[in-house]
C-alpha cells in the first residue's frame, strides 16, 4: 500500500449528529412513537364517532366539563413546575430542583386522583366502558368505550410519569443532578410536557367536541 506518508489524525469526537446529546435525542425519538400511538387511538375514535354520531351526546351532558377543565389547569401547572425544576438544575439550584420536582409529583398525583374521582362518579352513574353498561344519556356503548380507553391510556402514561418523577426526585435529593449532568431531569421534563400536550388535545376532542 502506498499510504506510508500519511499523517494520521485522531480526533476525539463523533460526527455532530442531531445536535443534542444521546439521552435527549432518544427521548424525542421515543415521543414520536407515542404520537403515533395516540394517533391510532384518536383515529379509531373518529371512525366510530362518524359511524354512529347519535351514540355520542353533546358536551357537558354526561361528562363534567368544569371538573375536567380544572384538571387540565392542574396538569398545565405541573408542566410549569417541571420546567421550573429544570431551570433550577440548570442554575445549580439544588433546593429549587427538589422543591419543584416534588411540586410536580404532587400536581401529577392530584390530576390522577381527580380523574379517579371522575371515573368513580361516572361509574356509579352507570357509565361504563363495556357494551353492557352505557348510560342513558349516551345513545349506545361506543361513548363509554372510547372515553375510558382514551383517557385511561393517557392516565396510564401520567402514572408512569409520576413513578419516574419519584425516582428522579429521589436522585435529586441525593444530589445526583448538576448543571453538567442534568440529562435525567431534562428528559423527564420532555416526557411530562408531552403528556400534558396529549391531554390538551384529548380534553378538546373527548370533552368539548
Amino acid at each position: 500500500m502506498s499510504q506510508q506518508e500519511a499523517v494520521v489524525v485522531y480526533p476525539r469526537h463523533p460526527m455532530p449528529g442531531l445536535g443534542v446529546y444521546n439521552l435527549k435525542a432518544g427521548m424525542w425519538i421515543f415521543l414520536l412513537s407515542e404520537v403515533m400511538f395516540f394517533t391510532g387511538l384518536i383515529g379509531a375514535y373518529i371512525i366510530l364517532r362518524f359511524a354512529q354520531p347519535d351514540a355520542f351526546p353533546e358536551p357537558g351532558v354526561l361528562l363534567n366539563v368544569q371538573l375536567t377543565a380544572f384538571n387540565t389547569f392542574v396538569l398545565i401547572c405541573s408542566s410549569v413546575t417541571m420546567v421550573k425544576a429544570f431551570a433550577a438544575v440548570q442554575n445549580g439550584d439544588q433546593r429549587g430542583l427538589r422543591l419543584w420536582l416534588l411540586a410536580t409529583v404532587f400536581l401529577g398525583t392530584f390530576f390522577l386522583s381527580i380523574q379517579a374521582i371522575e371515573y368513580y362518579l361516572l361509574g356509579s352513574h352507570g357509565f361504563l366502558p363495556t357494551i353492557a353498561g352505557y348510560a342513558a344519556e349516551a345513545g349506545g356503548p361506543l361513548y363509554g368505550m372510547t372515553f375510558y380507553t382514551l383517557t385511561g391510556f393517557h392516565g396510564a402514561h401520567v402514572s408512569i410519569g409520576v413513578l419516574a418523577l419519584i425516582f428522579t426526585s429521589v436522585k435529586a435529593f441525593r444530589g445526583g443532578y448538576t448543571p453538567e449532568q442534568l440529562g435525567g431531569v431534562e428528559i423527564m421534563g420532555l416526557y411530562w410536557h408531552f403528556v400534558d400536550l396529549v391531554w390538551i388535545i384529548l380534553f378538546t376532542i373527548v370533552y368539548l367536541i
Binding site: 442531531l18 445536535g19 443534542v20 424525542w28 425519538i29 415521543l31 414520536l32 404520537v35 403515533m36 394517533t39 391510532g40 384518536i42 383515529g43 373518529i46 371512525i47 362518524f50 359511524a51 358536551p59 357537558g60 363534567n64 366539563v65 368544569q66 371538573l67 377543565a69 380544572f70 387540565t72 389547569f73 392542574v74 398545565i76 401547572c77 408542566s79 410549569v80 417541571m82 420546567v83 421550573k84 431551570a87 440548570q90 442554575n91 445549580g92 429549587g96 422543591l99 419543584w100 411540586a103 381527580i114 362518579l121 448543571p179 421534563g189 420532555l190 410536557h193 408531552f194 400534558d196 400536550l197 390538551i200 388535545i201 380534553f203 378538546t204 376532542i205 370533552y207 368539548l208 367536541i209
Partner: protein
Amino acid sequence: MAAVTKEGLMKEPGMGMTIGGFMIGGAFFGAVDGYLLGEVVGALAGAMVGALIGAGLVVLAFKPRPQDTATEIAHVPHANYMLIWAALFVMTILEVGVAFLALSKIAIILALLLLAAWKALLVALYYMHLRYEPRRLWLLAASPLPLAIILVSTVLFERW
C-alpha cells in the same frame, strides 16, 4: 414571606397568577364537588384547600429572583415560562366557553381544534424548548404529523 408583598407581586406577575389560579381552581373544584355531592360546605372547603395549597407552594419555593424573568438561564435562552402559563390558562377558559356557544357544530370544532393546536404548540415550543433547539430537531419532532394527518383524513372518508 418575601414573595407575598406588594413589590413581590408587582415584580412577578406570575406569582400572583399562581396564587389566584389556585384559589380559582380550588373554588371550581369545591363548587363542582359540592354540585356533585349537593353540599355548600364541601364547595367552600374545596375552595379553601385550593387556596392554601396554592399559597403554600408559592411561598415555599417561588421567591422573586432575577433569573426567573431573565431571558437566559445559565446562558441558555428560554421563554418567560409564567407568561406561557398565563396564555395556556386563558386559552383553556376560552375553549370551555367556545364549546358551549350557540354556533354551528363545524365552527365550534374548528375553533376548538385551533385553540388546542395553539396550546399544544406553546407547550412544545417553549416548555419542551423546541424553539431554541437545532433545526434538525424541529424536523424530527414534526415528522409524525403528516402521518397522523394521513390516517385521520383517510378514515374520515369512511362514513356509513
